[in-house]
Symmetry: C2
Subunit: 341 residues, 2 copies
């Protein structure tokens, strides 16, 4: 049966023939202890199997070496990739990551931040479901360091990390135009998703620069491959039929490709299709997808750096200036919209 904590700091001090303060210094500020003494203490720590107690260390130092990541759905590959970057980067800084899944519940999100405060987390990286001012005020009232993930900085007077969705839309448009496509269409799920709206904005702007005809816009009932099938049927009914389609995510794009193929059209010869996200379905699609890749892991790592900079700066009474990091997406070219020969 496990009984962590049964060996105490004083046991180690006694065994090494030093004071408890020296043991503590060996653990927390090894450079302040003479080499021979430090080695003696470290040997005693190993021999007795002593595990320093972070809870006690925290009460003295005020720092928990814990940080929180709060996301709407950890089972979605977007947030799972971010979590991977956060976990790895936190570890490099000597911190551990507490992960919370809000399941899109605003009240739960607030309770989870309260839990993080109780654990004296240095702060939270949060992708709030609603980035409206009222909800963010509620979160900020909890008086902890918050770094917003995947939300533009203007919505938050704090640090933030995001990926340039407008630029992603522009990239998709420019690629389709470079392939010679002129009858363009944009496919998304339900109206009102901010990321989708920013991608549409970039797509529209870049199309307007190059082509005289406005792109068609199709909204499906769902943002998955079923929605893609539904959107494809709408595209097939258009006259003239689009020859270049940009979908706001890969699942929609796979649904579009499958349905167009079923209707006897060839992708990319008749219709070129571009997805978004470079998720696993993009690579394994029957026609592998050209898609916009987002640096999720980098995003997670940068979010950790922002939070640690803020919390250490404030702890050391240095002036902290909030900042935002915006990553550029990149285009991955595959068969659904290949490079011109």
């Amino acid at each position: 049966m496990a009984k962590p904590g049964k060996v105490t700091l004083s046991d180690v001090a006694k065994a090494a023939g030093v004071s408890s303060g020296t043991v503590s210094n060996t653990i927390n500020r090894p450079e302040s202890v003479a080499d021979a003494t430090r080695r003696r203490v470290q040997a005693a720590i190993r021999q007795l199997g002593f595990v320093p107690n972070e809870g006690a260390a925290r009460l003295r130092s005020g720092s928990s070496r814990l940080l929180g990541l709060v996301v709407p759905d950890i089972a979605s590959s977007f947030y799972a990739e971010i979590a991977k970057g956060v976990a790895r980067r936190a570890e490099e800084h000597g911190h551990a990551m507490l992960l919370f899944d809000t399941g899109d519940d605003l009240d739960r999100e607030v309770r989870q931040l309260e839990t993080l405060a109780r654990h004296r987390s240095i702060g939270a990286l949060i992708a709030p479901r609603m980035a409206d001012e009222r909800h963010l005020r509620r979160l900020r009232a909890l008086d902890m360091h918050l770094v917003l993930i995947d939300r533009p900085a203007s919505e938050h007077d704090g640090c933030s990390v995001s990926i340039d969705d407008v630029q992603g839309g522009r990239m998709a448009a420019r690629h389709l135009v470079a392939l010679g496509r002129r009858r363009l269409a944009f496919v998304a799920g339900p109206v009102g998703v901010p990321q989708a709206e920013r991608r549409l904005q970039g797509f529209r702007d870049a199309v307007a620069d190059e082509v005289s005809v406005e792109p068609a816009v199709v909204h499906a009932d769902s943002s998955d491959f079923l929605g893609g099938g539904e959107a494809a049927r709408a595209l097939l009914a258009m006259d003239p039929r689009p020859d270049g389609v940009f979908c706001v995510n890969d699942q929609l794009a796979v649904g579009v490709v499958n349905e167009l193929t079923r209707a006897g059209l060839r992708v990319p010869q008749d219709v070129a299709v571009v997805g978004y996200g470079d998720t696993s379905v993009a690579r394994s699609a029957s026609v592998p997808l050209t898609t916009v890749r987002q640096p999720m892991s980098d995003l997670g790592r940068a979010a950790v750096d922002h939070l640690i900079r803020e919390s250490e700066g404030v702890a050391e009474s240095r002036m902290h200036h909030h900042s935002s990091t915006v990553f550029q997406p990149s285009l991955v070219v595959r068969e659904s919209a290949p490079l011109p020969e």
Copy 2:
């Protein structure tokens, strides 16, 4: 700037006109405090914005209300789904989840468990990359409660939760036989993955019960859709060609379906294909996959229950008996191997 912890328990006690002990009781054992007093203390807590310190509470009670989840790759949908179940269930128990990604590094895995011990976590749920006895001994030497995830109990003298892979293989075989398929094949990635071997064992056993011919076994260089393409080319070269194929994961199955289709065969008419996992690619495949679904979220929830039962039992000096929970998978029938008409 955030300064969590500036309001103390004594501030609340002063404001409410009670002792610090009463404030502590109101937080930890509300049922022991008279209604009127409790309401007065709670009002003071709200008014002052007091946040109880879990670190201090932990030093008194010995319980951190933290538990760890240690997985090889949080970006894989299998572990991300488990994490979702663990996070939700931990929360229901009033615990928070520390998540670690080992990235398949055995030494990192040990260091992460040490970190969990330092944070006085009640224990860890762990899907160790290597479930060999030597590595498990190393983990158990850390003297903390461990619940093994997705590893059979025999490999661990502790609690475990897993999904019956042998049964999953049996289900796939029985379904293909029920469809009238007699020339069966099994497709996996590299040799030596224990889960794949258990699925093959179940598949073989069930085939032997019903069909006189041994199934063909194909191993590809990778366990993804590229490996599936490679396996499909091997299947196409066989004489007689298999008419029913079971793949150990959905990515392989998608690769098989795409390559068979490219070669002019019809799925399921010429070859029925069954995948494993019911991941997102199963639903969005050009021919949606019949596949074996695993209850990942239930697995995560059960793992939390095992850990809490063990840690509370030991803390209260009750006898703890290790136990294993084995979940049954289920078959999801779609177009790649539909029910007989």
